[in-house]
């Protein structure tokens, strides 16, 4: 098994290593033992209890699978549904891939360090499963592949590892929803994700989080984009969680490679979000953009962003806007790091409240004060994402629409 032993060894050494930032979790308090769930086919998926169905739909999952080219659903530690409908697109549970395919070793733990912290270590030491999604060279999808990591067992620590590969000239869209069953209260989700966007490929990855109030979430993801490639990374989390910390990183290693991050975060009372985005621009012509919209409803949000320009002729922009609606803290930490002459980097950060003038303007068009505020908040949360298929845009709008009822 290749260097698996070495990986395990490294992981063991890091199993108690706290993360660089964010609240530290005591992982011994969670159960990690595998939970059995049987495989369900397409028809059974359609006949799930309506409450569970609702949770899946909220996380962006289309259970009819009609407008999806593939589906991966993992419940707790078990893969319960996995299929694909388009030639040139592969969706494989990672455990199966590790057993059956040699090529996976070119990707597995190649971007994320297994010993980065105790969360990456846990994902190696007690790997439950995860998905490998690959678009073969030149394959293009119109509809997205959907993946769902669903948690049902109370107090579970779910360890997953995902790998997404967009081969040369391909176009791949992935929507992934993470959710918990309605009765679930507490648990932890540790998810490693590695993204490979090859020459002239396009990958959009849209993640919608829909957790329970006492969940702790520690995603660990790194992407690599080659020449002429485009990586769009969208993240939406508007439901309460106890703590969430992540700092997804992208390396633009080819000329004219592009990465854009868009995130929409709502922090409810009792929640602590610490999230950021870091993009290394390593080749001329590469471009990066990080856009974050945060609303605090009484929670704590640390919104970080870090752009590193290592060569001339790169362009990068960071935009972080926060609205404090009902108390709480928004802490914006934008960082720009230019290493040479000829970089073009900028940022725009603002934390504030809704302008009275805007409320009055809308009221003079007939809206009540509450409706005016809701309209402004909806506008604040709606970001135009260039390159995102309209269908995914609609999905994001729907998720925002669903959740902003709770925001008010």
């Amino acid at each position: 098994m290749r260097n698996r032993e070495q990986l395990k060894e490294k992981a063991l050494k890091a199993k108690d290593k706290p993360a660089a930032i964010g609240p530290d979790l005591d992982l011994s308090q969670y159960d990690k033992a595998p939970v059995e769930h049987r495989y369900i086919d397409h028809d059974e998926l359609l006949s799930l209890p309506s409450l569970e169905k609702e949770r899946l739909v909220m996380a962006g999952i289309d259970i009819t699978e009609q407008e999806r080219v593939g589906t991966y659903i993992q419940k707790d530690t078990a893969v319960v549904h996995c299929d694909v409908k388009q030639n040139g697109i592969e969706v494989i549970p990672i455990k199966k891939a590790l057993e059956q395919y040699d090529w996976i070793w070119d990707y597995y733990w190649k971007l994320v360090a297994v010993d980065a912290d105790k969360y990456t270590a846990a994902a190696e030491l007690d790997l439950h499963d995860g998905y490998v999604i690959r678009a073969l060279p030149g394959a293009k999808t119109v509809y997205p592949v959907q993946a769902c990591l669903y948690m049902d067992k109370n107090n579970l620590q779910q360890n997953v590892h995902n790998i997404i590969i967009a081969e040369e000239g391909s176009e791949l869209h992935v929507i992934t929803g993470c959710s918990t069953s309605p009765h679930m209260k507490r648990g932890a989700h540790l998810g490693v994700s590695e993204f490979f966007v090859k020459k002239n490929a396009k990958l959009s990855f849209t993640m919608i989080h829909n957790w329970a109030e006492d969940m702790d979430i520690r995603p660990r993801s790194v992407a690599q984009v080659e020449e002429g490639g485009l990586f769009l990374n969208n993240y939406i989390c508007m439901k309460p969680v106890r703590s969430l910390q992540m700092y997804p990183t992208t390396h633009l290693v080819g000329e004219n490679a592009v990465a854009r991050y868009y995130s929409i975060i709502v922090g409810s009372p009792g929640s602590e979000h610490d999230l950021g985005g870091r993009i290394y621009l390593k080749k001329p012509g590469s471009r990066a953009e990080i856009v974050a919209r945060t609303i605090s409803n009484g929670g704590k949000i640390v919104a970080r962003g870090h752009l590193i320009g290592e060569v001339p002729e790169i362009k990068a922009h960071l935009e972080c806007k926060g609205l404090i609606l009902n108390g709480g803290i928004i802490h914006a930490i934008p960082e720009l790091e230019g290493h040479v002459d000829g970089v073009e980097m900028s940022h725009e950060a603002a934390v504030g409240k809704i302008a009275q003038e805007e409320i009055a303007y809308l009221m003079s068009r007939g809206l009540s004060e509450d409706d005016a505020v809701a309209t402004i908040v909806r506008g604040f949360l709606s970001v135009d994402i260039p390159g995102l298929p309209p269908q995914l845009k609609a999905e994001i709008d729907r998720a925002v629409e669903e959740s902003d009822k709770d925001v008010m």
């Binding site: 805007e358 809308l362 009221m363 068009r365 709606s382």
Partner: protein
């Protein structure tokens, strides 16, 4: 009918409107003149109901209802609308959605058809007022009033910043909104149309260009928070352009 009686208004503790009396009957359009800082915009904002303009005395009545302390949105619902000079940008809210909001969010509004009237179709999918030029803001405001269709319309310098090509469009649209168009038909004579006019307008202007597109019933001069003169708007305009607002000071003193 709009009736303002002995209105006194403060902004941030400073008195900015003094003993204002004004009456606009159904079908009438008034022009409001006055130098910069005389309180013209404040009067419009007070009528619209902006709470920072604090009414310390007097009364505003519209359609027989005392609206002196009514919230902005209730005034809008009662039929008051305003075309702003410098409206705020609302990020993420498309002009198309704004038009629907103005029309009360009903299904029967056709934003394209309305936008065509002010040559604004290309802007429907842009955020309201975001990066709009001076002239585009005027057309956006008129589009919103077309959708809102209020009975009393307050225009804050509708022709400022508008280029020569668009001034006719703006002027004619305001005339249309205020039912000032000359369009007698076989069924109705001009006199009948005039009698049936119900829309009321109050227009702030510095240049008077707007008077080339519609006839106003009355002109008012606001000077230092005091309405100093009420006369034929063209006469006032001539007087101001020949003698400046200095003359209005004398009139104001004479009035008091």
């Amino acid at each position: 009918m709009l009736v303002i009686e002995d209105l006194q208004v403060e902004l941030a503790g400073k008195q900015i409107l003094k003993h204002i009396d004004l009456e606009i009957k159904p079908g009438e359009t008034h022009i409001l003149f006055g130098p910069n800082g005389s309180g013209k915009t404040s009067l419009l904002m007070t009528i619209m109901g902006y709470p920072q303009y604090k009414v310390t005395a007097g009364k505003i009545t519209f359609k027989g209802v005392d609206i002196t302390h009514m919230p902005i949105n209730e005034r809008a619902q009662l039929g008051i609308g305003m075309a702003y000079q410098r409206p705020p940008t609302i990020h993420g809210l498309k002009t198309r959605q704004m038009v629907k909001i103005c029309a009360g969010n009903g299904d029967d509004v056709d934003p394209e058809a309305l936008a065509r009237q002010v040559d604004f179709v290309d802007f429907l999918d842009r955020d309201v007022n975001s990066g709009f030029s001076g002239g585009e803001i005027k057309r956006s405001e008129l589009l919103q009033l077309l959708a809102q269709n209020p009975d009393l319309m307050l225009f804050d310098e509708p022709e400022s910043g508008v280029d020569l090509e668009n001034i006719a469009l703006v002027g004619n649209t305001i005339a249309k909104l205020l039912q000032k168009e000359c369009s007698p038909t076989d069924l109705k004579s001009m006199l009948q149309l005039k009698r049936e006019r119900t829309k009321m307008g109050l227009i702030i202007t510095h240049t008077g260009h707007i008077l080339e597109y519609l006839t106003a019933d009355k002109g008012q001069v606001l000077y230092n928070g005091v309405l100093s003169c009420a006369d034929n708007p063209r006469d006032i305009l001539r007087c101001i352009s020949e003698m400046g607002y200095e003359e209005c000071v004398r009139c104001a003193i004479a009035n008091n």
